[in-house]
């Protein structure tokens, strides 16, 4: 056990830091317009890609560098420390494609995914299939060398900016529900795809409803075997769940610094309760970080992510939501009067963390099962 960087990691970290200091787009966090923010995000993806920072843990033959996932963790950490824009999350889609894809699919889809040329979204949930994802009803009917897709997806995050979608649809309604689902790689530009943004309580439209009307998908764009969709979805969700993968820890630290500054500006740093609460927020962040390091280390030693991801997801939701509570309490009335309205927005943005990627209740169910409790 050694929590320090290896010499190679330390070297990587130092050169990365220097690179970030030069390349973080100036003023990116002042952009208010959502479309402009999306353009900035694409350009940032491209910049990272060209410098070789995207998909570092992927196999070389698919455009990666075959490095250990530790390097991605370092990237996440440093990007957060230096207040870089959000890092693109190619991990979970990429994982699905290179685990289950045909050689041809890998060649076709992985390079543009890495480079950021193609943005992806995840079309799993439906109005009637949230926690119970396996009950999804969107139908893909085989018609010669195409599937014809009909149905409605809900909560397709980033759907309004995406070029491609990892879509789950039912290909066999006659077998048990987990067995009749297949996964598809579909262009969002296909005729019959209609995207309607959903505005969240924060006022931001970060997720979408997507309607699929007679959308034709070539059979060659089915990922994996017919009926393999459930397994693919579970792999994806397991990779998506880790807060380390999405740079959460770094952005948490960054937010904590801002909250500490708020407290200082308001002259609250002398109050023992405030000091304790700020310190407790730091502790929650550290606990989460250390838990993630442990998970990551398991992964480096070859373990697939499993139910322990639920532990991190619960710690993550709790850390983020508690931090937003603390910010709100430090701001007091300013959070309600619009004087610090942006914090009310981030407060509402923290609420669905305990809903998406499997709700807090579902994560606890998973852990209870892992513990072998009687059902």
């Amino acid at each position: 056990m050694d929590y320090r960087d290896t010499p190679e990691e330390a070297e990587f970290r130092a050169s990365l830091r220097a690179w970030l200091a030069e390349n973080i787009p100036a003023g990116w966090d002042k952009i208010e317009d959502r479309d402009e923010a999306a353009r900035m995000q694409r350009a940032w993806h491209r910049t990272l890609y060209e410098a070789g920072y995207i998909g570092m843990s992927w196999p070389k033959e698919y455009g990666g560098r075959s490095l250990s996932p530790m390097y991605e963790a370092i990237l996440n950490e440093e990007a957060g420390n230096l207040n870089a824009p959000r890092l693109p999350s190619v991990g979970y889609i990429g994982r699905a494609v290179f685990t289950y894809g045909s050689e041809e699919q890998k060649k076709r889809f992985l390079p543009p995914l890495l480079s950021g040329e193609a943005q992806w979204c995840q079309g799993f949930s439906e109005p009637e299939a949230g926690s119970d994802l396996a009950s999804l009803r969107t139908l893909a009917r085989l018609d010669g060398d195409h599937y014809v897709v009909n149905g409605q997806k809900m909560w397709t995050s980033g759907g309004q900016y995406a070029d491609w979608c990892l879509l789950l649809a039912r290909t066999d309604p006659d077998v048990p529900k987990h067995k009749g689902i297949s996964a598809f790689l579909v262009s969002m530009r296909e005729p019959g795809v209609t995207v309607r943004p959903i505005v969240l309580a924060s006022g931001e439209a970060e997720t979408c409803e997507v309607f699929w009307d007679d959308v034709r998908i070539p059979v060659a764009q089915r990922l994996g075997a017919p009926g393999e969709g459930w397994r693919i979805a579970m792999t994806t969700v397991a990779y998506e769940r880790g807060p380390a993968d999405i740079g959460f820890i770094a952005s948490y630290r960054h937010t904590l610094r801002r909250v500490e500054r708020l407290a200082a500006e308001r002259g609250l740093l002398e109050r023992p309760e405030t000091r304790k609460k700020l310190a407790a927020a730091y502790v929650r962040g550290e606990v989460l970080r250390l838990n993630c390091m442990e998970q990551l280390s398991l992964r480096v030693s070859g373990r697939e992510p499993g139910p322990e991801g639920s532990v991190a997801k619960l710690l993550w939701a709790d850390a983020e939501q508690s931090l937003q509570h603390l910010a709100m309490d430090i701001l007091g009335a300013d959070c309600m009067t619009g004087a610090a309205g942006e914090w009310l927005g981030s407060y509402f943005t923290s609420r669905p963390v305990s809903v998406y990627g499997g709700s807090a209740q579902i994560q606890k169910n998973i852990i209870a099962r892992m513990l072998g409790l009687p059902r």
Partner: protein
């Protein structure tokens, strides 16, 4: 002793409930379409805007309990009218100051007044000291009330809501807020009635807090009711989500917190006109401490029970959260109340 509404109060509850249901904001879209003027008119016609107007002997026409009954009903419906601002906080201030005709004008419904609060919403604005602040719950009002230090107590003054005030988009989507950023021009102020004594101000604060609590209780109870209904209807894994113990416990916890807040609020509302002002105020602070402490958690739990849909702007859940969080701040959150309760209990202040 009977900690329950009597028959007449029950009737009032039904009347208020009917008015509230007619003007209810059942989804955020209703905020644009509700006929707020008609809702105000029905409240005036039913006499509910005049509950605190005094008779010849100086007695209010109804007690704090009736005020709380109406406030809870309007809170439950998220009704976008300035009942607390105009009919409770402003009217009571005028009535206590002996400005009878002005109070009656508000009770008739033709005219409205808001209340001026300090910058952190924790107390009525004191002029000229509070150089920044907010007119709260001042929808349709041309003026708001504030206090000016005067010989013999705090003088109520009417502040015109003119160009010095900028409407702001606060958290609460159902009640309005206007900000002032510079010292208010003293030449524009009009006095109302005579200065208020400490005891009268305490009485006012007790009523104001009790009414705010009743509003919060309404907001919480109706939110919990909606979540429970949803848990019975929403099917996942082939069964209603309400059959999962995790969801049952979320519903039960939210319910317990809301009911506890309601118990404390009932007593506070009764105490306003019956107990000594200091005791009434402690009862009100007790209720506000409880309401403030649970408002966020209850409304968040409700959002969680609704899952993804409860996170969207078009869903009603966040409108509950926003109103409850605002109630929590107005006239002091739970921390402010606890400190004052500690002063009374521990230092005898």
């Amino acid at each position: 002793m009977l900690a329950l509404l009597d028959a007449e109060q029950q009737m009032l509850k039904e009347v208020a409930g009917q008015i509230a249901r007619a003007a209810e904001v059942a989804n955020p879209g209703d905020l644009k379409t509700r006929d707020r003027a008609a809702a105000w008119e029905s409240l005036a016609q039913a006499g509910l805007l005049g509950l605190r107007v005094r008779d010849e002997e100086g007695r209010p026409s109804a007690s704090g309990v009736e005020v709380a009954v109406v406030a809870e009903a309007l809170g439950a419906g998220l009704v976008p009218v300035p009942y607390l601002g105009s009919a409770v906080l402003a009217t009571e201030l005028l009535a206590l100051a002996g400005a009878g005709p002005e109070a009656e004008e508000l009770a008739a419904g033709g005219k409205r007044a808001g209340i001026l609060l300090n910058r952190d919403l924790s107390a009525p604005a004191r002029l000229p000291g509070d150089e920044q602040g907010y007119a709260w719950d001042c929808d349709g009002a041309a003026e708001a009330l504030a206090l000016v230090e005067a010989p013999g107590g705090a003088q109520v003054v009417r502040v015109p809501l003119d160009g010095a005030f900028t409407p702001v988009a606060g958290a609460d989507l159902t009640r309005s807020l206007a900000r002032y950023d510079a010292p208010i021009d003293p030449s524009g102020l009009t006095r109302a009635g005579r200065p208020l004594t400490e005891a009268e101000l305490a009485r006012w604060e007790a009523l104001a807090l009790a009414a705010l609590c009743a509003d919060t209780v309404g907001v919480m109870r109706s939110a919990v009711t909606k979540a429970v209904e949803y848990a019975k209807e929403r099917i996942q894994y082939g069964v209603p989500i309400g059959s999962f113990q995790a969801v049952q416990h979320m519903c039960a916890e939210a319910y317990v917190s809301a009911e506890a807040a309601a118990s404390a609020t009932g007593y506070a509302a009764w105490a306003v006109d019956v107990l000594e002002p200091g005791e009434a105020l402690t009862a009100a602070r007790t209720a506000k401490a409880q309401c403030g402490a649970v408002a966020r958690e209850v409304t968040e739990t409700v959002m969680q029970i609704f899952g993804g849909i409860g996170q969207t702007y078009e869903h009603i859940a966040h409108v509950h959260t926003r109103r409850a969080l605002t109630d929590r701040q107005v006239l002091g959150d739970e921390d402010a109340q606890l400190l004052r309760i500690a002063d009374v209990r521990l230092t005898g202040e």
